[in-house]
Symmetry: C2
Subunit: 491 residues, 2 copies
């Protein structure tokens, strides 16, 4: 593997693309806007998915599966929803191909036209709430706590590997509740689950907040979000959780008999994270040498590389490496011994740096004599000589330390990039020169929000949940404001 990736300082976007391709996470595909998630990238996503799935189940959710296709008319039932999604839908119009009588190969059979076109799901609220109508009759059927792992399609014009693709993998939770406060609590609980996952597993500090009305999900009463900061100072929405009020229950007429025998519409939430998280993980921590992966998610945590001359040395090192591998595996560490003989150790070092393997153990004949190994950590690129006695415990501690150090580095960067601004010139200057979140007063109107976006390309990322009240004046309009909100340019 060549190490030629564009440095971040030179072209951050190109660095990101180079890295995704050369580390083997994903590849472009023959279908516009769709990517192939390669085995290394999928292993990373699997680890994320499995942890999230466990967290969802621990909070009482069950998985189910709903159809890929949605009848076109369903989308129109909720007014804001159709407005938000109609313009980016893949539409199935026919169900058969046939040989062209003119001999041009296979064509779409005009006789196989669907009576009603089907949309490839961009999100599943409509098809799911149509099913919930049959499932929910009484308060005893509530709460209904369901999650789905699925592929969805949103026809994006500008795509980027993992961050924005026409098809992506995600999970979408869809819950139904007897009361508004219960649904609100669910939406907030799932935001907390996402934040916990981002910080503990992805080592990614996030701001928990609520979206401004203009940035809400199409059909939501409130959209909660977690916002992360990338190394180029741009923000990235890493997950959202929506309180949907009774919008979808009314659109699909889902009512239940209360304990008091009254018929009422159900209250709803939906919440999702996607393969976009893989992109966020890469952008937040990696460097010019390649990926930096938090040990808790790294498909491979430790690689052992032998350094030998001649078969005799090799046999000794092989034996020791097998011993160490077994010891590490027993301690629950994901380890690989790479004794391939077609490339040199230096090439392997570069390869595993590129792949972001947290710990590399180099094992040479002299090391063995001294009962030590050269251990290198990927995050800080420090090297140390460690005794082979009780190595598993030391490596376990090292992996813990790496996990924490990656989080600390991202937190420090983030803290340094939340900057207050009290006037528009300062606001713009911070965005242009420093990047990151700008904490500023806003008059609460969509007009001002739009105008700021036009002038600076910055959007309101969120109103933080733990925001202290503070009297002030909108940086653009000068009108009164009661709290600061976080602006940023964003992915």
């Amino acid at each position: 593997m060549s190490k030629e990736i564009t440095p971040r300082q030179q072209d951050y976007a190109q660095w990101y693309n180079d890295l995704i391709i050369k580390s083997g996470l994903a590849d472009y595909s023959a279908v516009r806007g769709c990517m192939v998630i390669k085995p290394y990238g999928f292993a990373l996503w699997e680890r994320m998915r499995d942890e999230l799935d466990r967290m969802f189940k621990d909070t009482g959710h069950q998985n189910a599966y709903f159809p890929l296709f949605i009848p076109k008319s369903f989308l129109s039932r909720e007014a804001a929803h159709v407005e938000g999604f109609a313009k980016e839908c893949a539409v199935v119009t026919h169900y058969r191909l046939k040989n062209d009588p003119g001999g041009a190969g296979v064509i779409v059979d005009p006789e196989a036209k669907l009576e009603e076109e089907l949309i490839v799901r961009p999100t599943s609220e409509t098809i799911i709430w149509n099913a919930y109508k049959d499932w929910i009759k009484s308060y005893r059927d509530l709460p209904l706590l369901i999650n789905q792992w699925a592929n969805v399609v949103r026809w994006e014009m500008r795509t980027r590997l993992f961050l924005r693709t026409s098809e992506f993998l995600w999970q979408e939770g869809h819950t139904a509740h007897a009361t508004a406060p219960e649904a609100e609590a669910e939406a907030r609980q799932m935001l907390a689950v996402y934040a916990d996952f981002a910080e503990r597993y992805m080592a990614l500090p996030v701001v928990r907040g609520v979206k401004s009305p203009a940035e809400r999900f199409a059909g939501a009463v409130d959209t909660y979000c977690i916002e992360a900061l990338m190394q180029d100072g741009k923000a990235l929405q890493a997950g959202t959780s929506h309180f949907l009020g009774q919008n979808f229950a009314k659109a699909f007429d889902v009512q239940f008999l209360t304990r008091e025998n009254k018929l009422e519409h159900v209250w709803a939430t939906s919440w999702g994270v996607s393969t976009r998280l893989v992109g966020a993980l890469v952008m937040a921590h990696s460097d010019d040498e390649g990926l930096v992966l938090p040990p808790l998610l790294a498909p491979l945590q430790v690689v052992i590389v032998p350094i030998w001359k001649g078969a005799e040395q090799k046999a000794l090192i092989d034996a020791k490496a097998d011993e160490i591998s077994a010891e590490l595996k027993k301690a629950g560490i994901r380890v690989k011994y790479d004794d391939s003989d077609n490339v040199r150790p230096g090439w392997k070092f570069a390869e595993y740096e590129m792949k972001g393997v947290p710990v590399r153990i180099a094992l040479g004949a002299r090391d063995l004599e001294q009962n030590v190994a050269e251990v290198a950590r990927r995050d800080t690129r420090e090297k140390m000589s460690l005794s082979l006695d009780n190595l598993a415990a030391r490596i376990k501690d090292l992996l813990d330390d790496i996990q924490q150090q990656i989080y600390r580095a991202a937190s420090t960067y983030r803290e340094e990039h939340i900057t207050p601004a009290d006037d528009f010139d300062t606001f713009r200057k911070i965005l242009d020169e420093k990047g990151g979140f700008v904490s500023a007063h806003w008059d609460g109107t969509a007009e001002t929000e739009t105008r700021i976006k036009e002038l600076t390309k910055a959007t309101i990322r969120c109103i933080p949940l733990d925001n202290p009240p503070e009297e002030g004046k909108c940086i653009l309009s000068g009108k009164p404001s009661r709290e600061r909100v976080l602006f940023a340019r964003a992915y």
Copy 2:
């Protein structure tokens, strides 16, 4: 839950549908031919998927993910392949909806027509081999052992829950090898994995065989299969593994440099099982009272039902039930204590019989005094009184016994339903009166195979892998034959 399901004897097809719906495995959806997999059905599929995934990884496979969409032209590259799939493809022709200027709601935007139509994948050989062209350069890149868990769409005209749906979930393995024998060995290895899974986990005896040319996968050189027998005497293909030769490598021009530095086309396999397995599981074991699930796959293995009068008794039973639950959970048993107070114990008994929970423990005040519980097994519906001492170990043994007993019952039925026939009248009589597999001589021609199908609706399910050679005469044509093959009517 009402127990009104149609008895098998009265209408087997209706029994199956009633059972799927009333046990809460799945439901019809608003989209023709697509179903909703409900939480209980999905939990069952998840257990199957997780076991299979582990088996695939243990045999060296990695997961990846390829696009949902396939450019129409890709399908035509392999002649047999397009022939097999073109007639049942969902076709995406547009990527946007818009408001109808006439006010009729949302319509497909005619200006958003795709240059080349996209097929929703019916299977992924073409899009995957198009990617492999970039991935495979040298013998060092081989074997490439990849699996994908995905949804696929085949536009079926007659659909049945789980058994045949327009969209279904499955896994598809796609491997690339340097030589034909390696690829052949892979195809056979994966068949062995499927057979092992079916027999050990699903408690479903299967015949391992190879398909006749007419029944091969579109584009395969050889199709291996496992065939199971349902309780109505019809066969069901439960999994297939294909040796694809160099067909797809040639269609997508995937060549590699051999060790000897020669350029050669790659050899391929593909193999898959789907949510159809859930249908097979249900049909093979269940009875007129509901599902019978093998303990290794049952989402819930044990349910504890309290029988009480008054709060004092309830408190005592609650305490004991919590103790037993904890003990069983510690032993790795999936257990639920159902102390809901809105239905009577008898209703719960029927409910959990319907859901196929392998073991039911009824706990009453008198039982507690005697330190026993009434334990009922779902498969044979036997009841026994078990001491509460060391209950987890007894339940574990019982679950093992149930797993084996379900397998034995299905094996006995299967053995009784493999019948030899040496002339056509007997052949037809067995199919009509007894069902099951009929072992008969066939002259090896597609003409005879087609004619037998027209006359009897029976197809060649497979030529068993362990078939003994036996000279004989074709039951239809009287021409010479060297081995018997298995015929059956099939799902």
